[in-house]
Amino acid sequence: MQQRNHGTWVILLSFFVAYLLAIVPFPDWAMNYRPQWVAMVLIYWAMALPYRVGIGFAWMAGLVMDLLEGSLLGLNALALAIIAYITLSLHQRLRMFSSLQQSGVVLALVGLHLMMTHWMKIAAEQAVASNLLFLLGALSSAFIWPWMFVLLRQMRRGFGVR
């Protein structure tokens, strides 16, 4: 049992860095290209350690994101819980995929995440409907995914997170 919960701090640290990257101010033109770091880190851990990072963890992570963004509480939580659900139900197939295929899945998942948060923000009157350029964030996330995957896998193996 002690072996099972090994290296929690690595998971938390990776999420913390993802939060930092998510709120670091970008110049205006680059706003739409901002990768969804938190969603990507979540997808990785849900895929690698599905028995540790589950839907509840994703929900809490989303709640922290809501606090940091100043958005409606529960908005990112809902989106990330659904992302975690999809990842968990696909995780065995995802592990078999090549990095290109994984990028495709990340593109779809992050795109779904962006769409869901966008719709909810419009429904909650926290934003107004604009163009769909914000979906470029999914593209940049998918582009970064292979490197991020390798980095997080190195961290997981190096620190023996199980």
Binding site: F16, Y19, L20, A22, I23, V24, P25, F26, P27, D28, M31, N32, R34, G54, I55, G56, W59, G62, L67, L68, E69, G70, S71, L72, L73, G74, L75, A77, L78, A81, I82, A84, Y85, L88, S89, H118, M120, K121, I122, A124, E125, Q126, A127, V128, A129, S130, N131, L133, F134
Partner: protein, 337 residues
């Protein structure tokens, strides 16, 4: 199988939390107390900007510094001259208002602040400033930079506050044309360009390109006569019921870091948000300062009106009389739909 039930449970939970957060205000307390935890994250995320500012400050040549110093001295001289005029005008204005038994309108109590983060959500224009409830910030306070009005505080956390910019498409700023007093509401544009659109202005109104728009003080949120924007295009389209007028905000929304928070005038109280209404109440209960004293203060040392950033000295020891006291404070939904 349990996965489906779990995700369904969390979806329902999120919806309940979202509903509670949007309809009731007890989650605001939670959000406020958790602000103690999020402040260090913002501080860390702001580090790159601070470091680059520091580098700009440190690695600068002696000649550049001298040049900049000279330029600043020159600007200060001009500004001082205008300030002298302003003090005279303010005195005269207040005296005239006193004759008409209207309340004094000139006040300049500000709190310097810095923009430390920008909202990443597309379709909104909000910034985070490094002043919060501990500095006495209240919902509804106006934010200025050196050139004009920037926005208003919409959410106060312990050490930080979210400010909605006037270019947000959900924000309407009551403005008037400085030249002739023509009134309008300037709404943030929906496009990617941060500009303002004047709403429901009849085709016959006298607004021209280059007109300066100042805040009209209607709506009881922004103080009167602060510069807001400059009209950049006026299109009279017969196919449309109103003129299409666009304006460029004078405040440097995306390049400035140093901003000022303007103190609230008397009865623009926080509307039961629970964040810091005590601050305003104590101010309201105190007796009003006679206009003569204010005039003396103003004409004696106008440049000392800037309040120190220490939290203690921020609390208002005298109320700032609002200019249109007979208009009821309006609901926030009217201001930001």
């Amino acid at each position: 199988m349990s996965l489906e039930y779990r995700v369904a449970a969390f979806v329902v939970l999120s919806m309940a939390v979202m509903f509670a957060d949007s309809r009731f205000d007890y989650l605001d307390r939670v959000r406020y107390s958790l602000g103690f935890l999020t402040a260090p994250v913002y501080w860390l995320a702001d580090t790159p900007a601070r470091v680059s500012n520091w580098i700009d400050d440190v690695f600068v040549s002696h000649g550049d510094l001298i040049e900049e110093n000279e330029r600043l001295r020159e600007e200060l001289l001009f500004a001082q001259r205008e300030l002298q005029l302003l003090a005279g005008l303010a005195t005269e204005n207040n005296r005239l208002r006193a004759l008409q038994e209207a309340s004094a309108s000139v006040n300049g109590r500000v709190l310097p602040a810095e923009i430390i983060n920008v909202s990443s959500t597309p379709g909104t224009r909000r910034v985070l400033i490094n002043r919060g409830a501990t500095d006495g910030v209240l919902v509804g306070q106006a934010l200025l930079d050196a050139h004009g009005l920037m926005g208003q505080v919409v959410e106060v956390l312990p050490f930080t506050s979210w400010v909605m910019l006037i270019t947000d498409s959900r924000h309407g700023t009551p403005v008037q044309v400085n030249r002739n007093g023509e009134r309008a509401v300037a709404r943030g544009s929906r496009g990617d360009v941060p500009e303002l659109e004047l709403e429901f202005v009849p085709d016959t109104s006298d607004i021209e390109v280059g007109d300066l728009l100042v805040s009209s003080g209607l709506g009881q949120r922004f103080p009167k006569d602060y510069p807001v924007a400059e009209v950049t295009s006026v299109v009279h389209d017969r196919g449309q019921p109103f003129a299409v007028i666009k304006a460029r905000p004078l405040a440097q929304m995306d390049s400035t870091r140093h901003v000022m928070l303007l103190a609230l005038t008397g009865n623009e109280a926080d509307r039961g948000d629970g964040t810091a209404p005590v601050w305003v109440d104590t101010a309201q209960n105190k007796p009003a300062v006679p206009i003569e004293e204010q005039i003396e203060e103003l004409s004696a040392s106008p440049q000392e009106e800037v309040v120190n950033p220490e939290p203690d000295s921020v609390s208002p020891d005298e109320p700032l009389p609002s200019e249109v006291a007979d208009i009821l404070p309006e609901e926030p939904s009217n201001q930001q739909e």
